[in-house]
Symmetry: C3
Subunit: 303 residues, 3 copies
């Protein structure tokens, strides 16, 4: 199968990453390249996700493509007991490309095997969300001008947060990264990722406190600490106000440091940070459109 | 900020009204002016509203624009606890224009302050619904050829009906209007609007009965009397069949009189009125497409 | 009224069928004929139906048309108590064509009477689903090269299955068909259809067993046997595994025999059939796009 699916960030080589970055920059300069004229893209969201869906649908629209699909499984055949296999087989008869979000881990890979057209994973449960990683990378490259020698701080839920795992894997392909993990005990970076880093000889540091240690950071990647992740509610109460980024904490950070967040945020970044020029999460959302235009181009060999 | 938001009908001057009327007439002659080619409009309906949404989406489509968005908040990030601030900041990174419907009064003004692209209010709770007023005005101008010296009858729920309030404010900018208010005691026109009319020296009359007094009307603007507006259910029972327009009541009305209704109606206009040439509410809905094409053009300086 | 509505399969003559087949073949060769440029199609799904909706929306998109509408009645004005009459009157002010799915039998015919633009019935309850029949016919013609002298087996729920009823009516217009009905006692072909066939002198045979009798078939049309159709649950338990098509049953069938199914399937076709070249149901879904492009063209006189 030489279909260019994007299911996991590891489906792409370092060369693919760089090619996507180049194309994203090109789309940023001219977002309305109508390469999708005459094409139909199926946007299948088996669970709601406004941000990702609107970002993809904006990308498709700017490229002149047409969209069919659904924004939650309630209005899909799933409610009639149809299997994912049959839904995907059917939709791949209609569309030139499938963008899929599904609550089940592994569903995207399965869909890609069944589909006759390329599948782009827009998130499959706690598993993978590779287009988020590529827009994160594009945001890092735009602000830091390089992927090499970066000091990346990851904060919050590092145990269940799929975005930090994928970003870690992707950035490990580049020269000499340093990772700093800041998380409560229950939400630490899983052992498998630490083993991976050790094997590659990549330096990383773990912290429980979220204080002025971020002064060394090039990128501070914030994530949400969700109550339902804690087995003991008291544990959550103890840490819930610890992993909040406040404007006062940015005083001694590097001039070129930038704050990323996959959004939506709840309270983990105080709103007084929004005015700070180091706050980059809304521009990051904007970059998502260009990164997704690049990913779609790549999947369909449009450039 | 010189963004051309449309949040309240009072955001527009008399000159703006007339310009919108001119443009609407131009769009009615040729609805498919593809001025939105290459543009993406976010259609954010935090509560369902078929009529308004389909009317806007038809206008955008006829102008060659693309639409992203949602038709109720269930499939939006709101369910993940995202603030309106963040949703709007995000969406204004994607789209060239935001059309927003939201149940909360004041939400549209707030969205306009947060957004980097123009915001058009498609209804914010009981507060404002300015595009409805502009299509009402276009319908009046088309049928009466003038905004001056008109005798406007407003019938039904004049207390909570935002459409009659906005229409009253807008028409008061023109020469010598007369208003007649026909409403049950609990649903009378609020004092503040009557004070406004008195200060401007505009004549108005109040009636409890809905009989043949409409013989003087140029426009009869019907609205729904909803049960849930009454504190005492018995009050509703007493009046529920009083404010219903029937075909027999139209016999002695002016030849050029026209009946408007923002729709949806429940039973306040008997269906035998539909065949009468004075029934104008479905053409009024049609006018909504042209008025909204004009409003979008105005917001984005397309003409 | 010379609007070209499609409400029932009997609205079309034999000549219409053949014209649709010709046009469908033409669209299959070139699906992206942009005959709908500048046109807006209302896609009104008062109940969810992914397959039919996506198929129609793909057809409209490939033809360059724009879509407005809703995918379930929850986000429509229906929830505000608006009548179907008013909804259709309103929408026909906006759109050039209405595609409608509604749970109520007869609703499509009523909508066509009220609408000023053509209405295509995308299913009205248990009543009619004519576009499914036309895509079934196109699938039969593509695989058998003729509508004459065909031996059609219909299997499963022949009592409530609207697709088999409509297909029977349509194929009866052609030369010398033979029908074989395979169904449990409670779900047999209704008497009225058998009377119709007898009056036209068309041969048909009824079977309770689903075994190797399909060796004579040109087409095996499978349908779902639903538990809720049985008054006695024990009856369902007795037959539920009887009307399942398995790959082993295909050994002695004609080389050119093809299996159709309107989809979604639950378990009535074993998945091992999918690999068999006689399995045609996914291509059948694909044919639906071309058939619907033809139907839309016909409704709007585009060719």
């Amino acid at each position: 199968m030489n279909k260019k699916d994007l299911i996991s960030i590891m489906d792409y080589s370092k060369e693919d990453y760089l090619r996507i970055m180049d194309m994203a920059a090109d789309f940023e300069e001219n977002p309305n390249q109508t390469l999708l004229e005459g094409k139909v893209v199926a946007s299948l969201f088996f669970e709601p996700s406004t941000r990702t869906r609107l970002s993809f649908e904006t990308a498709i629209s700017r490229m002149g493509g047409r969209i069919v699909g659904f924004s939650d499984s309630g209005s899909s055949s799933v409610s009639k007991g149809e299997t994912l296999h049959d839904t995907i087989r059917m939709v791949s008869q209609y569309a030139d490309l499938i963008v899929m979000r599904h609550p089940l881990e592994g569903s995207a890979r399965y869909a890609a095997e069944v589909s006759s057209v390329p599948v782009i994973n827009a998130g499959d449960g706690a598993n993978q969300h590779p287009t988020q990683t590529l827009l994160d990378m594009y945001s890092i490259l735009k602000t830091q001008k390089t992927f090499d020698n970066l000091n990346i701080f990851m904060v919050g839920d590092l145990r269940y947060g799929r975005t930090v795992h994928s970003l870690l894997m992707a950035l490990s392909q580049f020269e000499n990264p340093i990772f700093n993990f800041i998380a409560p005990e229950e939400l630490q970076m899983p052992e498998e990722y630490k083993i991976y880093l050790r094997e590659k000889g990549i330096r990383f540091f773990e912290h429980r406190e979220f204080t002025d240690i971020i002064s060394e950071a090039d990128i501070v990647y914030m994530t949400r600490v969700q109550k339902e992740r804690f087995s003991d509610p008291m544990e959550y109460e103890k840490v819930k106000n610890v992993y909040i980024l406040k404007n006062s904490m940015l005083k001694h950070t590097k001039p070129n440091m930038r704050i990323l967040h996959p959004l939506p945020r709840v309270n983990e970044i105080a709103t007084d940070v929004d005015q700070n020029e180091k706050a980059y999460y809304f521009q990051q959302a904007r970059n998502g459109v260009f990164a997704r235009e690049a990913i779609i181009s790549h999947a369909l060999n449009l450039k």
